[in-house]
């Protein structure tokens, strides 16, 4: 067993790190305060290939692997959780299912603009009445000639505010529960799409979290993604892959907070010595780092399993669950190590704490992850 990154992955990691250090870290606080990732940064990340890392070159992606993608999301999230989830939701939840379930024509039509960042992708599954229970989808569609006509609403849609490309789940017969669900590729600039609101949130405040209403949104039949009635499978497969992205985001947030806590513990003096001399702080650092390292191993392993085209459902659930709980734990302890200063915005660890919490909730709550893991253990 070799736990070292390959030379190519190290080159990638160091390139992303340099970019993040110079282009994202200095504005991370502003992104949080202004509830907005500057368009120039989104464009720049697109030019860097961050928005199409593991998609093939023939569709305008960088042609790298899932591990590279995990590293990109992790490194970006060290500085800014909002930018991390932009990449994760865009890639895993929109480009990902179009690549996995799309026809050749669909891939050629939609992926290049997504991979370059010209359009930003989102995944429209969650509804006011259907979160963990995707079978409860109440958005419906009917066919009219060469079009599907979609009506309903979606909520908590990451990246929704960009009005780019979406993978949308709707039902043709609600009584069929998950067997009535179908996936579509939609252009959110179409008539019939209304943004109800962009939510004001505790954390990842630079990331759009959008509520939509659809009133006779007309989608051409060629935008059907996969088969009618198979949308639930599209959703489950998509979330599986997406969990690696969220695990990477959570891992990055934890690492970002840890770096600051470690540095601060060596600078901050009390009783004429750095607080890192005290065992109370030393034990915190040891626990934080151990959780980070276990999260990293789980996350990278899930990514490598996906790259090797092996089953990774349980591993992606475990890495998402563990990394997100690590993120909330480590960011909370990072504030504690900073003492009162940790509660002040300027020290940034309070932002990381706020950013971390959502990783336990979205892309399947950690309770759902435990269901996935235990079901697989007991089946």
């Amino acid at each position: 067993m070799d736990f070292e990154l390959s030379q190519d992955h190290k080159v990638l990691q160091s390139a992303v790190r340099d970019f993040v250090e110079k282009e994202i870290k200095p504005i991370a606080m502003k992104i949080d305060e202004e509830h907005m990732i500057p368009d120039t940064l989104v464009k720049h990340m697109g030019e860097m290939g961050f928005l199409g890392s593991y998609l093939p070159e023939e569709y305008g992606g960088a042609g790298l692997d899932m591990l590279s993608y995990a590293i990109v999301v992790e490194e970006v999230s060290k500085a800014c959780g909002s930018s991390g989830v932009l990449i994760s939701a865009h890639t895993s939840l929109c480009s990902g299912p179009i690549y996995t379930f799309g026809t050749e024509e669909q891939k050629k039509k939609w992926l290049p603009a997504l991979n370059s960042g010209e359009t930003i992708g989102c995944f429209l599954l969650t509804e006011p009445g259907a979160g963990s229970d995707a079978g409860g989808t109440a958005t419906t569609y009917r066919r009219e000639g060469d079009e599907f006509v979609i009506n309903g609403s979606k909520t908590f849609i990451t990246n929704g505010g960009y009005l780019g490309t979406g993978v949308l789940l709707a039902s043709f017969d609600r009584s069929l529960k998950h067997k009535g669900i179908t996936a579509f590729i939609v252009d959110l600039k179409s008539p019939g799409v209304t943004i109800l609101k962009n939510e004001n949130k505790m954390g990842i405040r630079g990331s759009y979290t959008t509520a939509f209403a659809f009133d006779d949104l007309r989608v051409p039949v060629e935008n059907l993604l996969g088969q009618e009635g198979k949308g639930f499978n599209v959703a489950m497969d998509t979330l599986n892959g997406g969990r690696i992205g969220i695990a990477s985001q959570a891992l990055g947030i934890a690492e970002g907070a840890f770096e600051r806590a470690l540095a601060y513990s060596k600078e901050r003096k009390q009783f004429d010595q750095p607080i890192s001399n005290f065992q109370a702080i030393q034990f915190k650092l040891a626990d934080m780092w151990t959780s980070i390292e276990t999260s990293k191993l789980l996350t990278y392993r899930a990514a490598c399993l996906k790259d090797a085209k092996k089953s990774y459902t349980m591993e992606s659930a475990m890495c998402k669950m563990h990394a997100s709980e690590t993120a909330t734990f480590v960011t909370k302890e990072a504030i504690q190590i900073h003492g009162g200063y940790g509660y002040i915005v300027d020290y940034e660890v309070e932002r990381m704490y706020r950013d971390a919490k959502i990783t336990e909730i979205y892309e399947g709550t950690n309770e759902v992850q435990r269901v996935v893991i235990s079901k697989m253990l007991l089946s």
């Binding site: 030379q7 190519d8 080159v11 990638l12 890392s53 070159e57 960088a62 042609g63």
Partner: protein, 258 residues
């Protein structure tokens, strides 16, 4: 047109350096590595010239050292170099500038390079001798510490940084070598697609023994960390006196008030 850029992989400067067991250089264990900063300016300028000249121009990146230096080589390839030469030498860190320049010269002598770019100096050894010595060994025109570069039809016009912010302009005919200084350009980030493309570019490995025929002219006698300093200067007295002292120190020891 044939271009060469020479790069060195150096430890991240944030690292904690400890002398190795021989007490002659730093211990390499647990260090993080990156491309020497000045060499990044060299790579960027070489890639720009390569792009200006277009088809028919070939840009090679060269590095000497153990297997880990391939990481720096791959970064240079991802920035736009066409191919690479890795001169394999686990003991490169112990060689003096004369030997390093001799190794590169032995590689370059029959390659007909038109322009060679190097960093002004390495961030670890800091001799600033390899580039100029290499030029001498190859009988190339040379100018150092450049902060501006233009090429036109066999002539390089380089802006140089002199003491106290004064600039000089030097013209030289190719074949020529320039050593690159901070301020020359802003190196591009390697993009993910270019990192992917770099995987397919050729890296030729050459054993150092095939190229090195020279002994050292200088050897390092010892390597040791600086003596621990006291806790800084504490100013005392009334506020006015302390301000005067502070202004005096800033004038004398820094450029802040000049």
């Amino acid at each position: 047109m044939k271009l060469l850029v020479c790069i060195k992989q150096v430890p991240d400067l944030e690292s904690r350096f400890k002398p190795n067991s021989e007490g002659l250089w730093y211990n390499e264990t647990d260090l993080a590595w990156r491309m020497n900063e000045y060499d990044e300016y060299a790579v960027e300028q070489a890639v720009r010239l390569r792009e200006e000249q277009g088809e028919g121009t070939e840009l090679t990146v060269l590095s000497i050292g153990p297997d880990r230096v391939v990481e720096a080589i791959k970064k240079a390839l991802a920035m736009g170099c066409d191919n690479a030469v890795h001169i394999q030498d686990p003991a490169a860190a112990c060689k003096d500038p004369w030997q390093i320049a001799s190794i590169v010269a032995a590689h370059a002598k029959d390659k007909a390079y038109d322009v060679i770019f190097t960093g002004m100096q390495s961030q670890d050894r800091g001799s600033a001798q390899v580039g100029v010595t290499l030029a001498e060994q190859l009988d190339f025109a040379c100018t150092s510490t450049i902060v501006g570069f233009e090429y036109d039809n066999g002539t390089i016009t380089a802006k140089r940084e002199l003491e106290g912010g004064i600039k000089g302009v030097v013209k030289l005919k190719t074949p020529a070598l320039v050593t690159c200084q901070l301020g020359l350009n802003v190196p591009r980030y390697p993009t993910l697609p270019n990192i992917m493309k770099a995987k397919k570019k050729e890296i030729t490995a050459v054993a150092v023994a095939d190229l090195l025929k020279e002994g050292p002219l200088a050897t390092t006698a010892s390597f040791h960390p600086p003596a621990k300093k006291g806790g800084g200067t504490v100013l005392e007295g009334d506020v006015g006196a302390m301000v005067d002292q502070l202004i005096g120190i800033l004038k004398e020891k820094t450029a802040v008030l000049r």
